[in-house]
Subunit: 339 residues, 2 copies
């Protein structure tokens, strides 16, 4: 079982793989994701993944056989594991603090076609992906051991993907992670002072200034945040206040799929290298913890971060980021790029 | 002038290069550091760097000419700049907070030989590097506008280095960076509770357990921390309490050079790939802010982080790190590797 350990000085947790630790020579980092060859996520190879936890399939097709549009399975190499009998167990080791690494690590296989990308699938297909995120969160919320579900996508080797086939990931956690706690605390402080949601204020100011806005539709806005860690970082936020992604309505899901798809297409086109190489990226869903009631101060959103710069000594030592592209310039490029 | 901007929700600052922002096609990331060709850090090319701020030279040689053993110059592409008249200027922009990006960004060219590495130079040469760090900190401490000096090294392309010639970097800041503040606050909290320094306690427990210790000598210990972010992460700490690196004595500098050199050699050998490729790494000096008196709760140290894993969606979204190598295993590999 993996172990969660806390740094003794600051509030930083790490997940340590204690079972089969990687030895020095296991760290050959591949320059690119594995292309060609056998793909466990392809249609017809369902038996090579762990059994499906959720799927959208043609009627009459059996689980773990072809005929699906989207599948969710356990990660074959999970960062955390959760057996029915597992409970969170906090312990000390002398002066140090740790807990057992219980949790779930799932893969959302977004499309059966090996060549598909979030930038090539239809809006209806994109809606299925967004719906699957919601579906899994709602299911995991039934298990009182989960406090938080983190949904993210790594696309491209430099962004941490090891498989080419389009997929996102979900990690269910027995605690609320540090960064989410900081966001909740920060927005609560702002709310105490102003009695307004900081994200709602941000959306209002950005929509009024129209300097960092990339796209908007009836319900959502895509913008380059004022203090982005990464060049061409884009956040997608609902225009009205909603703290949890779990409450997304069917109608909103379509608007979200439209702006999300359009934003990724603009990012892909803007950052396409002269030799046709697509820029790697991560996106992360930021949403309220599973067990918290609707929060007046927190506001769910997606953060999309192209991987164009490296985390180096200065960032590791300071917690600061150096961003060579002002978000005002990035937003303009993204608005003006010809699709 | 660059700009420091604060995220409106959490305590996270970014440095935005507002002068000549990088456009989409400026982000071609080279797979490796530039090898061969012209090197501005080589002996004989002194005129191609900004003028030297500090140097150790043979007697009788003029600044910015050959005959040096170590040079410190301004970074040609600085993240921050400081002119004599600049003062820290905090401002709002609607709901957002920013300040002008004043500071200094220097390069410590550690050795005149283009092929030299910290793992190949002599202990005496290593002592010059450690002494130069101290020298620059003491000089910058005279300018009341500086609050903190961050010293770090990026080695190898994946760790953020763009030039092959052995060098480290220094960034002088008008504020104490977030991560250092967190460390100081965390250690202060521990001190309030226990009236002991958390780092001293850690050194004591590790030396007693001898599980995560890699090396030790009379004055220093090199150990894999209990909750490392990165596989094979090693910290080097003085065994007795010292909060600021600026106070390092000449005798201690020798002991530090010895353990630092030996640790880097063990890391290099352990992580050498089958085709002779050295693993990239960062190291960062963690020390007390310039203007703070000796702190009973803070303890300077170096953190060495080999770059073997990638920061991906989960890390960006949670602030957690996933480490596939338990530090107990890493320490054993590093102790047992044959040099």
């Amino acid at each position: 079982m993996p172990e969660l350990r806390k740094d003794p000085i600051i509030d930083r947790w790490v997940i340590i793989a204690t079972e089969r630790g990687k030895r020095p020579h296991d760290f050959v980092i591949e320059p690119d994701v594995v292309k060609g060859g056998f793909c466990p996520f392809d249609q017809g190879n369902e038996h090579t993944t762990p059994p499906e936890l959720f799927a959208l399939r043609d009627s009459g097709t059996a689980p773990n056989t072809p005929g699906w549009h989207l599948r969710v399975v356990n990660n074959k190499f999970p960062a955390l594991v959760m057996r029915p009998e597992d409970l969170l167990n906090r312990q000390g080791e002398g002066m140090f603090d740790k807990m057992n690494g219980i949790g779930t690590h799932e893969v959302i296989i977004e499309h059966p076609d090996h060549q598909a990308l979030l930038t090539t699938i239809t809006i209806e297909e994109f809606m299925l992906v967004l719906g699957a995120y919601q579906e899994r969160m709602l299911t995991l919320a039934q298990d009182p051991r989960y406090q938080y579900v983190l949904i993210f996508k790594n696309w491209g080797r430099a962004a941490g993907a090891s498989l080419e086939h389009t997929h996102s990931q979900l990690i269910g956690l027995p605690i609320v992670p540090e960064l989410v706690q900081e966001e909740i605390q920060g927005s609560k402080l702002y709310y105490k002072w102003k009695e307004r949601c900081v994200f709602c204020d941000m959306v209002r100011q950005e929509m009024q200034q129209q300097v960092r806005v990339v796209l908007e539709n009836q319900e959502f806005v895509a913008l380059c945040p004022f203090a982005p860690r990464s060049p061409f970082e884009v956040w997608i936020l609902p225009k009205t206040h909603h703290s949890s992604y779990m409450d997304l309505s069917d109608a909103s899901r379509r608007h979200l799929a439209e702006i999300f798809s359009a934003t990724l297409k603009r990012l892909e086109k803007s950052l396409l290298s002269p030799d046709g190489f697509r820029a790697p990226y991560n996106f992360i869903l930021h949403t309220a913890p599973l067990r918290d009631p609707a929060m007046p101060h927190y506001h769910w959103h997606f953060e999309i971060m192209p991987k164009l710069t490296l985390m180096a000594g200065f960032e590791w030592g300071s917690g600061f980021f150096i961003n060579p592209t002002p978000p005002e310039d990035a937003a303009q490029y993204l608005r003006e790029v010809k699709l």
